[in-house]
Symmetry: C2
Subunit: 321 residues, 2 copies
């Protein structure tokens, strides 16, 4: 039997697990609730217990595995295998994740942050087509990303490489939680889209269901904005156009800097699909020079929430090299 790999996508509410073949096919999947009580000290023991339980169930042993890979929130030291500052896990103190999991399972372990791991997943088995140069942007509650360049996941000097949510798209733009102004996240996260709508609504005078909802104080989500725009609400179209201009500017400069084969857009906001992608692409072409315009593609993510376990598994493959 060929050896397998285990991918883990650790989040604030669930931890997803998968057993995969070395070429990235998922053979088994399961998940457990993330127990964040007591400063999150139960999380790793329960992950170990769940892995050992499953291996027992499937009649598998530690020797049957190349390794385990995991994506996690927080600041990761992938060399040391530690995590700190993952607030949705209650991990304020340094967590020795690699040491605990290797001792608890007898299987080699690798770890990186969740946005990087999703980038690896989309690059390997999704829209990135396993090309050596792929940028991944995830538009969710926040905006994150990961960069694979010349076949390597980039970390930079302190692990902040790929933090595309803090690209400045407007020096005079909205204040960001990071302390500076005009970050991509302030205008293209789920809350950012609604922020752009509220801002533009102040000056919009035409007839619009979206404008009326905002003026009436109704709760408006980014999904509402995109759905109304797709239904030809004129103000909704204006908001989506502005959001896509900002995304196109950021993607354009990622293209001008890195010339990847593709920039892959994922996360909840990307559920708007081709309606979003085509508009981002229009501005991307406006903000790139010819060689990049013709060679770097704007794509939608393809793996959905399996990107995490697949990318995590790919981390473990380095032990097979």
């Amino acid at each position: 039997m060929d050896k397998k790999i285990i991918g883990i996508d650790l989040g604030g509410t669930t931890a997803k697990f998968a057993i995969l073949t070395p070429d990235g096919e998922i053979q088994q999947k399961w998940s457990i609730d993330t127990n964040i009580l007591d400063d999150g000290k139960h999380i790793i023991p329960e992950i170990i217990e769940s892995i050992n339980h499953r291996l027992n169930l499937y009649g598998m042993k530690a020797e049957d595995f190349i390794g385990i890979g995991m994506g996690t929130p927080g600041t990761v030291d992938s060399e040391a295998g530690t995590v700190i500052g993952a607030y949705n896990l209650n991990w304020r103190e340094l967590q020795f994740v690699k040491k605990m999991i290797e001792e608890g399972t007898g299987i080699k372990f690798a770890i990186d942050n969740d946005a990087n791991v999703a980038a690896l997943g989309e690059r390997w088995k999704g829209a990135g087509e396993n090309d050596p140069d792929v940028v991944f942007i995830t538009l969710g509650t926040g905006v994150g990303g990961g960069i694979v360049a010349d076949g390597h996941l980039l970390h930079g000097v302190t692990g902040a490489a790929g933090e595309v949510g803090h690209i400045t798209i407007d020096p005079n733009g909205f204040e960001c939680t990071c302390g500076k102004r005009g970050c991509l996240e302030t205008v293209s996260s789920a809350t950012g889209v609604v922020r752009v709508a509220r801002h533009l609504a102040e000056e919009y005078a035409g007839d619009s269901r979206l404008k009326a909802m905002l003026d009436n104080g109704e709760e408006v989500t980014s999904k509402d904005v995109f759905e109304l725009a797709e239904a030809d609400d004129p103000f909704g179209l204006m908001v989506v156009d502005r959001v896509c201009l900002y995304l196109g500017l950021a993607c354009g400069n990622l293209g001008n800097t890195l010339n990847p084969s593709s920039i892959v857009i994922g996360g909840g906001v990307s559920a708007a699909g081709e309606f979003l992608r085509s508009r981002v692409e229009k501005y991307f072409k406006e903000f790139t020079f010819p060689q990049v315009r013709e060679s770097t593609k704007i794509k939608l993510a393809e793996l959905g929430n399996e990107a995490g376990v697949i990318g995590a598994a790919s981390l473990a493959l380095k032990y097979a090299e």
Copy 2:
């Protein structure tokens, strides 16, 4: 005797040569004029002749060398060892540089474009301190650059990675020769600095020697702009501040994206030294989020015009691995 390496920096007027030790110390230097007549067909034969002549002079043989590396203008296919579209060399057609030089000298050969090679040089022996993550920006007639990330020189899918001169710093900015608007090159190359001065002069009404020179139709260079600003010309200071804002925005987003240990600024415009660097750094800090602001440094290039031969030599080192 330890084996040596040869670095060549090919330009439109001269080709610079150096013989270096494997740790990057220059032992011999010379140069020849670049003969661009007859579609540049004499360039490579004259380079071969010059190398063979020098090796003979020093009593050295092909076996004494690890390899030859070269930086060149134009579009380079570093795998194939070919160059096309180097207009200042009159190379309009595909040039089989690697094949010719390897056959003519009996020494292995590697090639990349001149901005990438200068980046490798500054990273290896200059301001980059041989760190794995270094971005190099050269401010000259044009604005170019090179990116070393996770220890690898980035090329992207078609070799356009590192073309930082075409980062869009203002969607409504000046038209660029590349066809789009607001490129960094339009406001921070030698001509770009003067363009910014002419543009701002239209609205500046105060007393200023620089403003008077522009209004009188005198020839003004970027060197004039920086020298007058350093002598406290109020309009000169305004122009330099604006140029540094644009550079700080571009460097900020390179930092937010790649988190290199340093962004190194070189080229003719960088002769303004600390006067330029400190102002770029001020805006860089404004446009970066805290983790990058604290870890990515803005530095001046240190190697001057030796960056090319040193970086070119480092290309050849891969044959020693």
